[in-house]
């Protein structure tokens, strides 16, 4: 006996009791195929990432099944023939998970469409940060503009210091903790250099580094 995880999408127009009858039907398929249902979880109606059979939404149901491979093939065939099931995905598992702790994703489909770029707010540029960053992500643009003046003055000072080592991008030990935050943000060498300078500033000013970073981006574009 092997463990399988099966996620299928039922037609969104089925509501209330209809879904339980669909689930009964599917469990019947599983038994017909000679396998056992170990656990069933309803995710409810969610927005699909793309249309399937002209439907924007779908009823997701997650099943855990014990059975042999040929039987799972039979099960997939009955899924294929059933018109109420839009899509299905069966995966072989090494071992059954703890059913209580199975991850159920939130339905973020709606927000993504309406908000457009909302989930990329923290990123800068096409390949910007891979992770949406927390507090700095929503920093209003105004602040950045306001602080620019101060930045310019201080940066001049630092440039004088940095002249000593023209080629090497160097930085103090303590900056590592600060630098970790903008790991993803700068890819270009020029950016990196400016970055280190501003990090050096952070020690003096003991500023929050998030705003500085966005400044750096703007300035590097100017150059």
């Amino acid at each position: 006996m092997r463990n399988y995880e099966c996620l299928f999408i039922a037609n969104p127009n089925i509501e209330g009791d209809g879904m339980s009858s669909v689930v009964e039907k599917v469990t019947a398929y599983v038994k017909e195929a000679g396998a056992e249902v170990a656990n069933i979880q309803h995710w409810g109606k969610r927005r699909l990432a793309y249309q399937i059979e002209k439907q924007q939404y779908g009823n997701y149901v997650l099943m855990y099944i014990n059975g042999e491979a040929p039987k799972i093939v039979d099960l997939q065939r009955s899924f294929e023939l059933d018109s109420t099931i839009l899509a299905y995905l069966t995966i072989r598992l090494d071992e059954m998970p703890e059913f209580d702790k199975v991850f159920i994703p939130e339905d973020d489909g709606e927000e993504d469409r309406r908000g457009g770029r909302s989930r990329y707010e923290g990123s800068r540029g096409k390949y910007g940060s891979s992770a949406p960053t927390g507090p700095e992500g929503k920093a209003p643009v105004k602040d950045v503009v306001l602080e620019e003046d101060e930045e310019d003055d201080v940066e001049m000072d630092v440039d004088v210091d940095a002249d000593a080592d023209v080629d090497l991008v160097e930085i103090e030990d303590e900056d590592e903790s600060v630098a970790e935050n903008d790991d993803d943000t700068e890819e270009l060498k020029s950016d990196a250099k400016i970055d280190t300078e501003s990090d050096a500033l952070d020690d003096d000013n003991s500023d929050d580094d998030s705003d500085d970073d966005s400044d750096d981006d703007i300035e590097s574009e100017k150059k």
């Binding site: 699909l48 990432a49 995905l89 991850f103 994703p105 390949y127 103090e172 990196a192």
Partner: protein
């Protein structure tokens, strides 16, 4: 003042936080490894380690199959 070379070393997100499973159902986490168009980001951008990148790729492809993640950005709605 002490100086040293700074390496911008990226750390694999999944190695960093071992509680987060690489799972096709976890679509919000997987979306971090996609471009806005829905293409899979290369390792050199995300910093994911080799073994986790392989897992991420299969997870993304599964999630696409079951409509948790789009194959490509929907131009009309974006």
């Amino acid at each position: 003042m002490r100086f040293k070379m700074q390496y911008k070393r990226k750390i694999c997100k999944f190695c960093e936080n071992k509680e987060v499973p690489v799972d096709y159902k976890n679509s919000s986490t997987l979306k971090r490894f996609l471009t806005e168009e829905g293409k899979i980001l290369p390792r050199r951008i995300t910093g994911t380690c080799a073994s986790h990148q392989r897992q991420v790729v299969t997870a993304i492809k599964r999630a696409r199959n079951i409509a948790l993640i789009a194959y490509s950005a929907d131009v009309k709605n974006v």
